[in-house]
Symmetry: C2
Subunit: 337 residues, 2 copies
């Protein structure tokens, strides 16, 4: 059971190995019938290209660079796993680098990935998706790149995201439909676009059910647990207590639950709490937090496909779809009723 190679297919098809190579790389100049025959044969023989040979003979590196702020961030590692998987099937490899907090490092990291590692494509993870200098550089050197959940200049690249607005709307509506009337919200970091989208989804869901969102039920947080603590202390010391809190992420939701427990409020009987992101934390604490699951793995898989599959070629094809909105999942658990 040795590996099948181009030559094997060529022999069976009665053509030269070059023709097979062209079919495999989706190059245009092959007769339609020949193409079909070869494609069928390749599938039948379960052909997969030898990455090393390909890399050695071509000018491509078969490396995809991923740039992020912290490699240990939860969403980054989830993304990484999906990316690693898809790369394995497409014969690519991942190089990942982090700015480690210094957002200024982003530009030099991107430069290094381009010039040293010579990546064939790049993925920008939030919040590094919106640095004008980086976008300008990438466009200048004409390296295909995909951004995950970008905020600005959406047409600058292909991008993959989910509908934060609608998800926030949905989870708020879940609270409304299960009978909550006084729903508070803790807004996320004010510099990130998603905070705004989630806040807007919350507001619109309330409005379309003719519920009020009085200003004292809106607190500004910044996505940290501590900011959630501060916000929840305020919300839970109001004369008229909210009967539900929608926090813009799970960490702030966990903090809100902790304050509620301290105040001897039963969750979810006296107050429901919901979060966003479905991080580990959401199912670590007790009760487990109802939240929104981002399709991070699928986002990663799609991003790699966009970068590595010739039919998606980002460079030459102006007709290619740039915007990819992936479905999310509402995870209802014990923190809300």
């Amino acid at each position: 059971m040795s590996k099948v190679k181009l030559k094997d297919i060529a022999d069976k098809a009665g053509v030269s190995l070059m023709t097979v190579s062209r079919v495999m790389n989706n190059e245009p100049k092959v007769g339609a019938k020949t193409r079909q025959r070869i494609e069928a044969l390749a599938k039948e023989l379960n052909y997969s290209p030898n990455v090393a040979a390909r890399q050695l003979s071509s000018s491509k590196s078969y490396f995809i660079g991923i740039v992020c702020e912290h490699v240990n961030a939860n969403y980054v590692s989830k993304f990484l796993v999906g990316a690693l998987k898809q790369c394995r099937t497409n014969g690519y490899h991942i190089v990942i680098d982090e700015t480690a907090g210094e957002i200024g490092k982003a530009l030099s990291i991107v430069k290094e990935l381009i010039h040293e590692t010579k990546v064939d494509g790049m993925i920008l993870l939030p919040p590094l998706t919106d640095i004008p200098e980086v976008l300008a550089l990438l466009k200048e050197v004409n390296i295909p790149f995909v951004r995950i959940a970008p905020d600005i200049d959406l047409l600058a690249s292909a991008y993959v995201c989910m509908d934060d607005y609608q998800a926030a709307y949905d989870i708020t509506e879940h609270l409304v439909k299960s009978g909550h009337k006084r729903i508070a919200h803790i807004i996320g970091n004010e510099n990130q676009g998603v905070s705004r989208l989630r806040y807007q989804g919350y507001l619109d869901a309330l409005r379309s059910h003719r519920l009020l969102s009085p200003p004292e039920y809106i607190e500004q947080g910044d996505f940290t647990y501590k900011s959630g603590l501060v916000a929840a202390e305020k919300l839970l010391s109001l004369t008229e207590l909210p009967d539900a809190i929608f926090a813009s992420n799970d960490e702030m939701a966990a903090a809100a639950m902790s304050v509620a427990h301290k105040n001897r409020l039963d969750i979810p009987e006296q107050i429901s709490v919901v979060g966003f992101d479905d991080t580990e934390l959401a199912s670590t604490v007790w009760p487990r937090i109802s939240t929104i699951r981002q399709p991070l793995k699928d986002m990663a898989i799609l991003a790699i496909k966009l970068l590595t599959e010739p039919e998606n070629s980002l460079t030459n094809n102006p007709s290619v779809v740039k915007r990819h909105i992936l479905p999310y999942q509402v995870c209802l658990r014990e923190s809300s009723k």
Copy 2:
């Protein structure tokens, strides 16, 4: 600035490319002087081998397999980042696979990595380090492998770990030295060796300071937040409250803090809480948890080196050191005084 290759070094050194290749691969049969000259030259020219060429011409795959239970587990992703980094410098690639809870899948995953992916080496992450069938298979096919923090049959492979016993001793002693006299412990999952080691470290630290550890101060947990909740409820309803709790991991420590807060106990003024692992959770909650940081990244780097650097050759060299104990770090934060 094009890449230097074997031929370039060979020309400068006045030898054949073969000799250079031998030096690079640490093969024995090269004259000492020639070897030195070539090594110096290689360093000077900043030579690094072309992975693709190497892979294509050799029978090696230059893939290292990592087997774990959940790729999303926090410690796995931290490990992964270190491994990825070291692989990049050594010209190897990572393939990672998970049993996703079904421990029975471990054997088939390992088989696939051996026969399909043809990995050159393998890393077993806990708790998959101690499956007799897997160990037997790996030994039979003679594939080098490294285990991280194994529990049983320590001589079966090289392994990398930290000193859980001593770390537990240290953090308990920290509590003692800062004046705590009634220190409780929540034991981890009883099936994992580390729970025992940490428990033992706790006991010995108390004993050597002539402090008591009465049975009602010892609770059995299982590393989950929920088990921490249950254990802490019991500890904090005792007539004589403990003035400190050492939980065998951060999740249980976070749970203990939550119960303490509910009971209106100030942390750390009325009770200190410490954990183990330094997961994200430890610095997410407030106050942040004092804990032990495992050197996961260094463990990964070392494991990859053991597997990929010829001087560590695990297969042929019986004199190679099998046991590698890496230093940990005690992280003191706001949850203890």
